[in-house]
Each structure stands twice: as C-alpha cells, then as structure tokens.
C-alpha cells in the first residue's frame, strides 16, 4: 500500500500527516522554529515515529504553509488555501464553506464537492483575527490558548475591546486586568473580538452549505460559539481528525492524487 505525507509549515506551528489507503497512520505537530527547513524535518521525524515508519516509506510528500518552499523532502508544493479546502472536504464531505484561522492570517473559502477552492478571501489589513492575536492575549493573561477558549462559557459580562489593533487591544486587556475585571469576562471579550473580525471575512464570501472551521482556533469553543451567533449558522464539528491538521491532510491527499496520475504510482 502506498504511503503519502503532507507537511504544513505554518508561522506558529508545523504539522505532518502520514496517510495510507486514505487513513491517517501518523501525525505530529510542533511549534515552528525560526527556520522552516528545520521545522519540517523535526515534525516529519516526529510523525514518522508515531507511525513506526522511516522516510524511505513515504512515496510522495507535498509541502504547504508559509515555509512550503523551504522544505527539503517534498516533491510538490501547494498553497495552504487549496490544502485546507482539500483537507476540510476529507474531514467533512458535505463541507462547502471553510473558515481557516492560521497563526498569521485568516481565510474564508468556498469549495465544490471535491474540495476544490472556487472562491476565497484572506485578511488584508492586520494581525487581528489571527492565531497570533489570541496568542498575544493569552500571554498577557498568563494562560494557555486552550484555557482562553474555555473562558467564554463562564462569562456573564464580556468586555468590549474597542480597537482591532492587536497592540492596542493588548493595552485594553492590561487596563481591564488592572481594574480587577474577572478573567472570564476579559477572555470572553477577547474571543468575541476575534469572532467579530473573522465574521467580516466569512460574510464576504457569503457562506453556503455546511461550514467547517480549520486551523488551531477551531478548537477555541469561545470563538466558535460567538462566530455561530454572528453568522446565524451552525459551524459543523468533526471528530475525524484534529481540524488544525486540515492543511497537512489536504497536502497528503494532493500527494495521493499526484501518485494516482503517475502510471503505476497509485494504489
């Protein structure tokens, strides 16, 4: 059976997914290092370890993410927009609209029944509405990003962050902390601010059909719940795999497609 892989080197995290017969047999995620090449090699080795394989077992690997052009072991590269489309389709076959919040950008896209991107928009203004925004805010509160996501449920009076600028919003958060505002309300305000920025982008593509969120922020229930309210639509959940791995999954699926197009290359 042919084994393929996808390697997604993002600005915050790097991911590798190894697939065999359309199933994930190994995966890993690490915090990205300054050099994309190094991130790719470390995360690939970690994924190979989880699958009990070595590099020679991988028939083909596709690279994606901001560091995609620096990965030494990939045969093909694809944009993360296409990879998230393909990966989301694998996670949820009925998906037609995808909201991907990455470390340094946010994208909304519509896909056809094959996961092919037919329209997309990406944030053009600044870092607000990206994973980096949440990372900075969690840092100010002295908590993890995962904990930040849990805060919304315990809040009755979320604060309002007036500025969409990450640095100025950070100043607001410090002011709220100093004023003794409960962390739950500050956290809920942060998640709400994030959701509002993302909703602008999502509305730009006019969401249709089933919506899925990919990227690390998909695991932040506070952002997801607020976004559902703002969009007036449910965002589908998937248990098939970690939505943060969608880009790497899509990249692995592209590797498989490439092999199938080579005589004798596929399964």
């Amino acid at each position: 059976m042919t084994i393929v892989a996808g390697c997604d080197v993002g600005s915050l995290t790097s991911k590798v997914v190894i697939m065999k017969s359309g199933r994930i047999v190994g995966s890993a995620i690490i915090k990205s290092r300054p050099k994309p090449k190094e991130s790719a090699e470390v995360v690939m080795q970690a994924a190979l370890d989880t699958a009990g394989l070595n590099m020679d077992d991988i028939a083909r690997c596709t690279g994606t993410g901001y560091g995609r052009e620096k990965i030494s072991f990939v045969r093909d590269i694809r944009s993360e927009i296409s990879c998230h489309g393909k990966g989301a389709r694998w996670l949820l076959p009925s998906v037609r609209t995808i909201i991907d919040i990455g470390g340094q950008d946010c994208k909304a896209m519509k896909v056809d029944g094959d996961g092919r991107v037919i329209h997309f928009v990406a944030n053009d203004k600044c870092a607000s509405g990206t994973g980096r925004f949440l990372e900075v805010m969690a840092g100010v509160l002295g908590i993890s990003i995962e904990e930040l996501g849990m805060f919304s449920t315990g809040s009755n009076a979320p604060v309002t962050l007036a500025s969409t600028c990450t640095v100025w919003a950070q100043a607001d958060v410090i002011k709220f902390i100093n004023s003794g505002v409960p962390f739950a309300d500050i956290g809920a305000g942060i998640n709400g601010a994030m959701a509002k920025r993302v909703a602008i982008l999502a509305n730009t593509v006019k969401p249709e059909g089933d919506i899925l969120m990919t990227g690390g922020v998909a695991k932040n229930t506070g952002v997801v719940n607020t976004l559902e309210k703002l969009l007036g639509r449910k965002i589908k959940k998937t248990r098939k795999a970690d939505p943060q791995m969608a880009g790497a999954i899509g990249a692995a699926l592209f590797s498989m497609e490439k092999l199938k197009n080579i005589p004798g290359g596929g399964e």
Partner: protein, 377 residues
C-alpha cells in the same frame, strides 16, 4: 531586455544621466494624462515620476498622514531624500485626490527640506469629463502649459515640432501594438515582466532611443521560441503599478504568464495613434482625454469594462488579478464592480489589496497568487 530592465529599476537611469550631462533639461510628471509630446517638442526629456527604491516613509508619512495611498507618499519620500534632484521641473496632475495632494505636500515639505522643490513646479489640471466643456477646458490647459514651458525654459513649441513629436511617439505606439499582438499568441513567447519593463521604459527614456531599442527587442522577440511549459494566462489591472517585481512575483517560479494588463504605466492605450493632420493640440487633447479611460473619468465604467472584455477575449485570459493600493478609492471600488461583472461571465478574479512598491508584503501576496493559480487550474 537588459536595457529596458536597467532603465526601469532605477529612478535616475543611465539615459537620464547622459541627457543631463549633455546640458539638456528634464521635467518630471505624475500621470498618464500628460502629453509628453509637448516636452519632446520643446527638447525637454519628460520623465514619469516613480516611487521605486523607497526604503522608508519618514518624510512621506509626515506630510500625508497614514491613511492615504502609498504611491504619492513614496514620490514625496524620494523627493525629500533628494532622489529627484536631476529634475529641472515638476508637473503635478490631479489623477486622483491623493495625487492632487502631492502638490501641496511637496511644497510644504520644501519648507523643511531645502532644495527639493524645483523652480518650475507646476500644476496641470485635467477635467473628469471629456464632453465639450471638459474638452475645451483641457485644450486650454494644454495651451497654457505650453506657454509656461516656453516662458520657463526659453523654448518655442511650434505646431511643426509638435506634429513631429506625435509622429515619433506614434512609431512607439505601433511597436507596442505589435508587442501586444505577440503576447496574445497561443504559444506565448514573452513574459509579462519583460513586456511591462519595455512599456514602463517608454515613460523614462528619451523617445528616439526608446523607439530604437523597442525595434531591436521586437526583432529579437519574433525569432524567439515559446515560453516553456503549459502557462496559465493572466491579466493584471487596477491601481497605479510600475513595479517590475510585482510581475516577477506573479510569474517567477509559477506556471503563470501575464498576457494582458490594463494599468496606467502599461499598455492601456497604446496602439491608439494620434492623428498628425489638423491642430496638434486638439489631437493631443482628444487622445489623452477621450481614450484614457481610467476610473478618475466620470461615466465611463461600461467603456472600461468593454475594454477589459476585449483584452480578455483577444489574449485568451484565464484569470484576472485586480490589485489596488491600500486607500485607493478609485480602483478599490471599481475592482469590486469588475469582479462582480467578470465573475458573472465565468472569469476567475483575484482581488489583491497591497502597499505600493518596496512596501508591499510579498509573502502575503504570493500566497494569494499561488492559491489563485491553483484555483484556475
């Protein structure tokens, strides 16, 4: 190609330096609505001002503020740094409100940065309509401009000299039309980057030298093999763009080729020759005001859309990149209309908002271009 590339990647290229060394005058201008034939007829080198090579914005931002297009800010930045010190005069045109403000910001900056405002620092008004009243106004503006040039530089711009200059510029227009035909071929043999370099070069080189180089380049092109590999054929439109690296970003390392564009530094109106018979001033006015259909002109959206459709059809365009510089009201809003109308006809569109020149965010833009190319696969 190296000749054009060298000419357009430096503000003061070798040809300008040589021109100055021979004791002749150079005037900078800021918009495609200026008839350079007038300066040519006066023996002055007209150079379209560009903001390339900017490496900061401490002067531009100080006078313009942050919420405005970065093109005029880059021009002011370069002016403040003395990069336009080779100019004997500057002509400012209200191509848009931001470019109109360049006039007052440059003058104001001149109070703090000595010597950056040339003695001849003039304003050339361009109406927003080309109907009778606007046309009469524009004709008068041209006559007025000629008088000011004659007075300042001690020259005489005769009708005969103007007609000869129109002839010379028409030669270049014919050659550029041939380039447009070549790049529209099914098996395209010239990159969009090369064509763009050749087109911009026409705005910064002495015209006779430009025409000669264009002829040589065309000879070389006609014997060239098609570009390697299957290419996705793109068109680039939108805000002012004179950055070769924007086209390189689209074409280098990708399977894309820019086969058409509609940019004011590009081949937007080339091929439209100016009649040499009759009143040359009237002919120039008609050409520059009536056929220049950029969104600053009122009531010409349908004409602009028709021009895009014609280019798409002619060059077999598979996708359109609609770029606009941040805070560009004219192109920012018109790109939305173009996207709506072109996508309705099944033509994939990518809207890109960016900063001008060296300030543009290449990683972010590259991601979008790559995804767009995959989308139109």
């Amino acid at each position: 190609m190296h000749f054009f590339y060298d000419a357009v990647t430096r503000i003061e290229n070798h040809a300008i330096t040589r021109w100055k060394q021979s004791g002749k005058k150079v005037v900078g201008y800021t918009c495609s609505y200026v008839p350079p034939e007038i300066f040519h007829a006066a023996g002055i080198l007209p150079v379209r001002l560009r903001g390339i090579e900017t490496d900061g914005m401490e002067i531009g931002d100080a006078y313009f503020g942050p919420f405005i297009c970065s093109f005029p800010k880059c021009l002011l930045q370069q002016a403040g740094k003395g990069e336009f010190s080779f100019l004997d005069g500057v002509l400012i045109i209200p191509g848009c409100d931001a470019m109109r403000r360049l006039d007052e910001c440059w003058r104001k900056a001149g109070e703090d940065h000595q010597g950056i405002v040339p003695t001849w620092f003039e304003y050339f008004d361009v109406p927003h309509k080309s109907e009778v009243h606007g046309m009469n106004w524009f004709v008068q503006e041209i006559r007025n401009l000629i008088e000011r040039i004659e007075r300042q530089f001690g020259v005489s711009v005769t009708g005969t000299a103007l007609r000869e200059s129109i002839r010379e510029y028409n030669r270049g227009r014919r050659l550029l039309k041939t380039v447009e035909t070549l790049r529209a071929e099914k098996n395209v043999r010239v990159s969009g980057t090369d064509v763009f370099s050749a087109t911009i070069a026409g705005t910064v080189l002495p015209r006779e030298e430009y025409t000669r180089q264009l002829e040589k380049w065309l000879e070389d092109l006609s014997g060239r093999d098609p570009l390697e590999g299957e290419k996705k054929r793109l068109m680039v439109i939108g805000s002012i763009a004179d950055e070769i690296d924007l086209f390189q970003l689209i074409e280098n390392g990708t399977d894309a080729v820019v086969v058409a564009e509609n940019l004011c530094f590009g081949v937007r109106y080339e091929g439209n020759e100016i009649p040499v018979n009759g009143d040359p001033i009237l002919s120039l006015a008609r050409h520059y005001l009536e056929t220049s259909v950029c969104p600053r002109m009122f009531g010409k959206y349908k004409q602009r859309l028709a021009l895009l459709r014609e280019k798409i059809e002619r060059a077999g365009v598979e996708g359109v990149i609609l770029q606009n510089i941040r805070f560009c009201d004219l192109h920012g809003s018109e790109n939305g209309l173009f996207q709506r109308d072109l996508e309705a006809e099944g033509i994939p569109c990518l809207r890109l908002e960016r900063e001008y020149g060296p300030l543009k965010e290449t990683g972010r833009i590259k991601l979008r271009i790559d995804a767009f190319l995959e989308q139109i696969a």
